[in-house]
């Protein structure tokens, strides 16, 4: 039996159940799934995955195989307007879809040509997307998703994986000796750069002082930033992004194509042979 439940405010409510499948399942054995990394930008045909999802802090009980919809109250007709997400139980899959205002298809006049042509006034309806925002596989204990932003209201706490650095962290990062701010303030740092600081800044702090030295030298060579003695001049969000890219070693030389390159998206290549 396949079931559909929805979240009203903070509480899940029962909607319906039926024998037929509600959604077409995706065959993830034929899809490239990548362990979540904030530094990786997904291609259209890729998905992020989180392994051992049931052990994560943001796991929700609706993913449990023993979850009974009999525990839920029935949603009332007035509550459909304030649904924030749908959850579909389909075999061993749990599909989650965020509800946005665009998915309500009320007040539409359509021509229905399935039989005698007729004009149909759309009643109150919600579109169920063919591709869910997140899919949890109970048997594999894997969560697949494409964007953290879309599912952070469904799995509270998951946004910690791609968090925005706090003002304190930004201040601390920009206070490094090798950074000199020019007409640029710590308060005006953009969201994307704050996310990068949270990710790359933390990685940098974990390096040995020897490696830190090397990284600064690398940044001098590759980033194209104005360097005054040993300090980088940061005048805008773009400059800061360049510096952060350099600190993440995203500049490289493709020796065969003889081209200097920037990697706008990176992830570990687990299939490659390890360098000795």
């Amino acid at each position: 039996m396949n079931e559909l439940i929805g979240k009203v405010k903070s509480e899940y409510k029962n909607i319906l159940s039926q024998k037929d499948k509600i959604l077409v399942s995706i065959d993830f054995s034929k899809v490239e799934a990548i362990d979540f990394k904030p530094s990786h930008n997904l291609e259209n045909d890729e998905w992020f995955q989180i392994k051992d999802f049931s052990k994560q802090a943001f796991y929700i009980e609706q993913c449990d195989k023993n979850f009974s919809t009999a525990s839920l109250s029935q949603v009332s007709n007035e509550e459909y307007k304030i649904l924030s997400c749908l959850c579909i139980f389909q075999g061993t899959e749990r599909h989650f879809q965020r509800i946005t205002p665009a998915l309500y298809v009320s007040k539409k006049t359509l021509l229905d040509y399935s039989g005698q042509p007729k004009i149909v006034e759309h009643k109150q309806q919600i579109e169920i997307k063919s591709e869910s925002d997140a899919i949890y596989y109970i048997t594999k204990d894997l969560l697949y998703f494409k964007s953290i932003g879309k599912i952070k209201s469904i799995f509270p706490g998951i946004e910690e994986l791609h968090r925005v650095a706090t003002q304190k962290e930004v201040d601390k990062f920009l206070a490094h000796k090798f950074i000199k701010l020019a007409e640029y303030e710590t308060k005006t740092v953009g969201t994307q750069n704050r996310k990068r600081i949270a990710d790359i800044g933390t990685k940098y702090e974990k390096l040995t002082s020897d490696k830190k030295q090397k990284l600064i030298k690398y940044a001098k060579d590759k980033s194209g930033l104005t360097v005054d003695k040993d300090t980088f001049e940061i005048g805008s969000d773009v400059d800061l992004k360049k510096l952060l890219y350099a600190m993440d070693q995203r500049y490289y030389y493709a020796d065969i194509y003889e081209e200097e390159r920037i990697a706008s998206s990176i992830r570990p290549n687990l299939d490659a042979k390890k360098k000795k």
Binding site: E3, S17, N66, S68, A70, S71, S73
Partner: protein
């Protein structure tokens, strides 16, 4: 649909109230025609709640389904309704006038309808159903009406139940 069904279930559950009143006051419109077989009317009266319950069980098959995967506690409650029913009987027995009957019956119907245990229908027991209070895995207490003998949460098998209301489910 749901409202009508709930009203029907409630009515079949409190129909004994009417029957007791009719019998107590010897209301028998066919007494003249039946002569010494006047008691046939009373048998017909008694059959009414059974027929109503039988029909309402049929209607329950139209209710939406929910799943019950795992329970953490099972408690039988077959006998709990007896107090309610005795109260029904005694009240019905003591009513003599029609206006009083309608007022009391109306109130009983209303309160049974709005209360979440409105479906304590003893005739379900006659049809082989049992009443259980169970705590689901999510620690929500619900009532399950089922023909199965539920004993221990450990041997509980996942079941598909029909939703009568948010707290009452029937397995058909």
């Amino acid at each position: 649909m749901n409202f009508t069904l709930r009203l029907f279930l409630t009515f079949s559950s409190v129909s004994f109230f009417v029957i007791v009143f009719l019998v107590q006051n010897q209301i028998n419109p066919f007494a003249c025609q039946l002569g010494c077989y006047y008691w046939i009317t009373y048998i017909a009266y008694i059959l009414i709640p059974f027929i109503l319950t039988f029909i309402s069980l049929g209607i329950c098959k139209l209710l939406s389904k929910s799943s019950l995967q795992k329970v953490t506690s099972i408690e039988t409650s077959n006998n709990d309704f007896l107090a309610n029913y005795l109260a029904f009987f005694f009240v019905a027995l003591s009513i003599k006038e029609m206006p009083a009957f309608w007022v009391v019956f109306g109130m009983t119907l209303m309160f049974t309808f709005v209360s979440r245990v409105s479906y304590f229908n003893p005739i379900f027991l006659v049809f082989g159903y049992n009443f259980y209070y169970v705590h689901t895995n999510e620690n929500v207490k619900v009532m399950i009406i089922s023909k199965k003998k539920l004993k221990s949460p450990n041997t509980f098998e996942a079941m598909t139940v029909r939703r009568i209301n948010d707290y009452t489910f029937i397995e058909i």
